[in-house]
Symmetry: C2
Subunit: 515 residues, 2 copies
Amino acid sequence: MATPTCPSSPAEPVAADLVPLRARRLGIDTHHEPVVVLRADSPVCRAEGFEAHARVEVQGAQRSIVATLNILTTGDLLAPDEAGLSESAWRRLAPAAGERLRLRNAPPSDSMSYVRAKIFGAALNENQFDAIIGEIVAGRLSNVEIAAFLVACANRRLRAAEVVGLTRAMVHAGSRLDWPHPRVVDKHCIGGLPGNRTTPIVVAIAASLGLLMPKTSSRAITSPAGTADTVETFTRVDLSLQDMRRVVASEGGCMVWGGAMNLSPADDLLIRVERTLDLDGQGQLVASVLSKKVAAGSTHVLIDIPVGPSAKVRSQAEAQALLHALSHTARAVGLHVQGLITDGSQPVGRGIGPALEAHDVLAVLRNAANAPDDLRQRALQVAAAVLELGDLAQGEAAHALARNCLDEGRAWRKFEAICLAQGGLREPGVAAFRHPLTALRDGRVTRIDNRLLARAAKLAGAPQAPCAGLWLGVHVGERIAREQPLFVLHAESRGELAYALDYVQRHPDIVHVEA
Amino acid sequence: MATPTCPSSPAEPVAADLVPLRARRLGIDTHHEPVVVLRADSPVCRAEGFEAHARVEVQGAQRSIVATLNILTTGDLLAPDEAGLSESAWRRLAPAAGERLRLRNAPPSDSMSYVRAKIFGAALNENQFDAIIGEIVAGRLSNVEIAAFLVACANRRLRAAEVVGLTRAMVHAGSRLDWPHPRVVDKHCIGGLPGNRTTPIVVAIAASLGLLMPKTSSRAITSPAGTADTVETFTRVDLSLQDMRRVVASEGGCMVWGGAMNLSPADDLLIRVERTLDLDGQGQLVASVLSKKVAAGSTHVLIDIPVGPSAKVRSQAEAQALLHALSHTARAVGLHVQGLITDGSQPVGRGIGPALEAHDVLAVLRNAANAPDDLRQRALQVAAAVLELGDLAQGEAAHALARNCLDEGRAWRKFEAICLAQGGLREPGVAAFRHPLTALRDGRVTRIDNRLLARAAKLAGAPQAPCAGLWLGVHVGERIAREQPLFVLHAESRGELAYALDYVQRHPDIVHVEA
């Protein structure tokens, strides 16, 4: 195969640093990895000896980035003196009008030499992880390079000390919050369980009892709703750090989106490449969870690990191993971690999707008659464990404390106060387009596939369409009669409803009913 | 961070398979990995729930490809019903005018489940390698996925049986030549040594003595010249398989470009990603070399392994280990391999670059007074080993046979005949722009950096500009006087000459002279 490169040009090239290029915004979102496009007959292209897909340094007047080079071989998308920039390249360079760019082959990356050492079996130290994570956050490593790092660290190839080094490096790469209190409680769920939205309830209970719980949450990456997506259906979540501090100072707790706070910013970048590869290395997971918690200024963290055949963690043994690794690393980075292994065999509550989950959360907090008891019980279980971490009570006393707080309306009042401080409380909406899926026969529900159900909710529009998702009519173990609804699809448009319906009709076993 | 995906659109989407898109050629060479660009407000985008950077299946009327999705978030590069295709996507789909495309999320890849198994320590069998290599050749794996495969196989994580399985899979993925003779000789050099262009001389000697040596060579990937680039400066190399067979039938040998023959097509794709990561796993190298040889129909192969501090193989121990791995795998795939560990401490001959190396080759074949003796001696060494493999003679007798063949002009006459059969013999050109780099003091040359020298030749325009490169005035151990030329840069344009000159002036230690 001929090497596709900048081909020979009859025009006479001159040294690249004599040929500045005009920046041109292409509008193409190539995701995290910056891309720059040059015409094949661009003088810079040949003068620099660029190869297709080379990593090049693009220097503007103020900033410089490393980008992947693509070559325009035909058509007139660009003028010969233009450099086309992808959206991430454009954002990072932020060129002024008329600003000229200079390109050269990117200098070798120190951090990639550490990645190679890791590939060949070396143990890395914290400084080396700092270099790798720093370059990832600065956008200087390509997705191919990030993939090499992740694979080199997978399959327990990260030793315990390396997980600590990686966790610290991920903290160093972003901001770190601090709170004027020696004990800051937090919770985290290892995910994979639709509807498991205990956070707002737990924050309300803990804060109402005087604990400091400045909770930052993320939006969905792969699921139909993240906690921030759900909370956003009833109050504001995109608070500035200053506003967050004000809410926490007056109420002792908050429920905000952590995305704007720059806490462990490498985490999302690593997760996205991991997801492409469908990899989830344990060392990486531990560093991901704990770096966010350290950066958020938490000191005592409850980790909820749902275990089930279609959850993220699939066996008790796996859960124990993960908890062991979490605890070891947590100690080393000065966090106190408590694990809570829970039932992950089926979705929690009735709603799946931002607003649908919010309705469940509000019903539990209001002690409504229709509040899903499974969500209430899980929230109380997690809240009791958080109260133990906060040293308010232990064992059954902690559970009673949480339950009373909820039953007597103290949790609801604290919840209202937090929402008001964050910008007001409103009722979540209801989707305009709904369609029930009914049982084909009488029988008993023997299993529900979390993953297929989540996919159906996403196809219905969640989380971008906040009212989209689905409402679950049954849980495992319940009897159901023919023609009764297994679940109801919710969508904000007729098209999305049709689309999700098509999917669930092609997957009749999402909710399995045995005669 | 908000998940960048197809955002909510006020327009009502409908199911994706009801919305065919018009194919639009963008002209952008994203290299091997096909890319498709959709507008964020494209109805398909939301209906399919595509995430940015998702892997999508693009179905045309005749063909279907897997591509990486980029999203057009601003600007008017595309109409709402257009799907923009990168060059590799366009080539693979080859849509007819007016042809409509349908997109959906790509189905999970079987081969990636094997890659994940490898990441987690499993040994793969030949069928699993067949699946992986088959999807790579079909363009169905992204560079990120190929990188994961390469890293999973690096650091001797491929067992001996797996290297055999991988080699066979790489052969299966392409064409396989066969020759009407039980013994087909071949040679291969492990590379990294500029100017080590023995192939045309060895082919001429072997074929003149009645051996069958149907040599296929590659173009440069990272070096200033591949054998095919050099041969192309004096005869045609892009022969069809039919023409190649005709040349071999009449002359017993040929020197053609293997790129059009589809021999182990996975090899280039793997090498390009390896190069991005600056990785070279031994198992991968063995499979790369041997799969090309099996596919070319060779039975007896001489492997030249130059060893030197700036060559690809840097120690005798490394060379022995490589040779051991090559021999083991070769036996398993039915090849007879003989290793030849040679001096790789400095470039061979005088010329570096396609035409400059061709002048050296022709001088040796013509027994010219100015023929570089080091190239002549290496070619005789390799040729003697090939004659041994061909069972014509052994030891000193084989060397004498090769030497006589060259000295008496038989090799030259065979070389002329092969060139005529391939389309004619012409003199390679000479670059119009030249500039000597001279010694700054009297002294002795103690070392030459192969890598920096190769880079200088590439900056001067090699191999795209066939006459570009450099001419080496001295070798290690020779004395040189102040103002004498260390080497002369050759370029086809003034700009490239200036550019290479700038580089060598910034690297004064390419040729190291000690007083």
